[in-house]
């Protein structure tokens, strides 16, 4: 049975699209047929991050309005055969989304995919609402700072009251917490909230923390999901999180700060 997973945060710039791309690729690497849907209508980014921007012809809104078939709008990524994206429209705005349209597209996607990742726009308005409304699971992306945590809390409240599952009294949306841009060193310095404080404040099962890393920015600019960028901390942290998301027991890494010894600094390992 296909699962609809929303990646959301409330606040902007915390790493939703990066996480959507990484989780999409991670689930595809694990062998699941996966599609990532960009709900940020008017501010299309996902195609860039996943390196598909030159192949966008039709988009999500075209499909909703019946101007294109779903298969025409879906783009297969270069890196993985079982990973697709459904790009957002850059010329329309979020009012073009309709509940019925979104539902029909998601129902159609459910027939051919195992995981449908909905990349939510920031905010709590129409775009974010539709991205989360049909979700079975939610990945809440939070940065370790107070405003991000509060916005995530707000989103969790909306998930618990305004999602389809909540409105129809079904089992609640399964929530997962992912902390992005985590820097153990800045936690020690007292500049950043510690991961377990964030987890306690939000009271949601913890998927893991993604260390702050230049490799994330580089991967985005190159249009490759960061998780495919082997050997970097961020890629491994994302892969661990994907495994935990699938129910595997994986020990947490990247939560402690390791001071480099003399040789370590010398050889840069």
């Amino acid at each position: 049975m296909a699962r609809i997973v929303v990646v959301t945060s409330g606040k902007g710039g915390v790493g939703k699209t990066t996480t959507s791309a990484a989780f999409g690729a991670g689930l595809a690497l694990k062998g699941y047929r996966t599609v990532v849907v960009d709900f940020d209508i008017g501010l299309r980014n996902l195609d860039l991050i996943m390196g598909c921007e030159r192949r966008v012809v039709y988009d999500f809104i075209n499909v909703i309005h019946g101007e294109a078939k779903l298969n025409q709008a879906l783009i297969k990524t270069k890196q993985l055969d079982n990973l697709y994206i459904l790009p957002a429209s850059q010329t329309r705005d979020k009012d073009s989304l309709t509940e019925e349209g979104v539902m029909l597209v998601l129902e159609e996607l459910k027939k051919s995919f195992d995981y449908i990742i909905c990349d939510s726009p920031a905010g709590i308005e129409r775009g974010a609402h539709f991205a989360m409304y049909f979700a079975d699971e939610a990945i809440i992306v939070t940065n370790p700072e107070v405003s991000s945590v509060r916005d995530s809390d707000r989103i969790l409240g909306i998930l618990a009251s305004k999602s389809m599952r909540a409105e129809r009294n079904m089992d609640p949306v399964q929530e997962h917490l992912l902390i992005a841009r985590y820097s153990p060193k800045r936690v020690i310095d007292g500049d950043m909230l510690k991961f377990d404080d964030v987890q306690e404040l939000l009271d949601v099962p913890f998927l893991g923390a993604i260390p702050e890393s230049d490799s994330v920015l580089l991967a985005s600019n190159r249009g490759v999901p960061v998780i495919l960028d082997n050997k970097t901390d961020a890629a491994e942290a994302y892969m661990d999180a994907v495994s935990r998301f699938l129910g595997e027991e994986v020990p947490h890494r990247f939560l402690q700060h390791h001071r480099k010894g003399f040789f370590g600094r010398l050889f840069g390992s």
């Binding site: 509060r150 809390d153 707000r154 969790l156 409240g157 909306i158 618990a160 009251s161 404040l201 009271d203």
Partner: protein, 294 residues
């Protein structure tokens, strides 16, 4: 003919859960209504007189709502022809809405012509006599039940912590003040199992509120009675919002942004350091919000 302000009252309840995205809101407002005082039940020459009046200030009267006041003719034997009044008013671009201050029989006949019975302070409905009768009987019964229950609960709870106004918000009047305890089938408390998130609001109307999880910063929990929180309390907690000064807040971990009992409040900056992150109870003492470790 006088102009009278008539108020349509509907108490806007504080903190209905999920009120944020409601498609409507209820508000009390004052409307200007033209009152037509009937002085003579026969209403000879009514049509001509109205026409004359309206022609003097057509803009003022254009589609104005009219209430028909029957105070002067309440005790008359003659039958007022409401159908005629309605017809004449409508013909003159006036909108008859209802009658007031008349006898029960007059109001009943007005209702047949599509006129509402406008309540005034002295009279609640046109068949009020009947209503009052049954209402009184019910009240007596209710009081009896409450009394019994109170006695049963005596050893469990020495003092009833509810004033009648919030225990029985809809059905009580001044006659049974201070007799209040819950009637047999009323809810004693509202229990919430999920975390209450920033931006959410939970209101326990007429009862206690029990929360078995955390209350996030930016969330409101509101109760007419006590509030119990068996998790961290980081949001705002308002107990006894209906005016019950004996309401209390109990919480296992006090980090609240604001605590309030019956309208008296303290914000987090006014909460002493040594009570933060402690298991406490909060109550009103000499009209001051008092915190005590448990």
């Amino acid at each position: 003919m006088t102009t009278n302000t008539d108020s349509y009252k509907s108490g806007q309840t504080q903190g209905q859960p999920g009120s944020a995205a409601s498609s409507f809101e209820l508000k009390g407002s004052m409307l200007t209504v033209i009152e037509l005082h009937v002085l003579d039940p026969v209403l000879a020459n009514f049509a001509a007189e109205i026409k004359k009046k309206v022609s003097q200030a057509p803009d003022f009267f254009n589609r104005a709502p009219v209430a028909i006041d029957l105070a002067q003719v309440k005790n008359t034997e003659s039958i007022i022809d409401f159908a005629d009044i309605v017809e004449v008013l409508k013909r003159n671009q006036l909108i008859p809405i209802g009658v007031r201050n008349g006898s029960a029989a007059q109001h009943k006949r007005a209702l047949d012509q599509g006129l509402f019975s406008l309540a005034t302070s002295s009279m609640r409905s046109f068949d009020s006599q009947q209503d009052t009768q049954t209402e009184l009987q019910q009240k007596a019964k209710q009081q009896k039940q409450q009394k019994q229950q109170k006695e049963e609960n005596k050893d469990l709870k020495e003092k009833s912590s509810y004033s009648s106004s919030n225990a029985n918000a809809e059905s009580t009047s001044s006659s049974n003040k201070n007799s209040g305890f819950y009637t047999a089938h009323q809810a004693y408390s509202k229990t919430v199992y999920q975390p209450i998130r920033s931006g959410q609001q939970v209101y326990a109307k007429g009862c206690d509120l029990v929360i078995l999880s955390t209350v996030s910063a930016g969330a409101d929990i509101i109760s007419d009675g006590h509030i119990h929180v068996y998790g961290s309390l980081r949001g705002r907690a308002l107990a006894g919002v209906n005016g019950d000064e004996s309401a209390r807040i109990f919480c296992q971990n006090l980090e609240a942004q604001l605590i309030s009992i019956a309208g008296y409040y303290r914000v987090i900056e006014e909460i002493e350091e040594n009570f933060r992150n402690q298991s406490v109870q909060i109550y009103l003492k000499d009209q001051r919000v008092t915190i005590e470790k448990m």
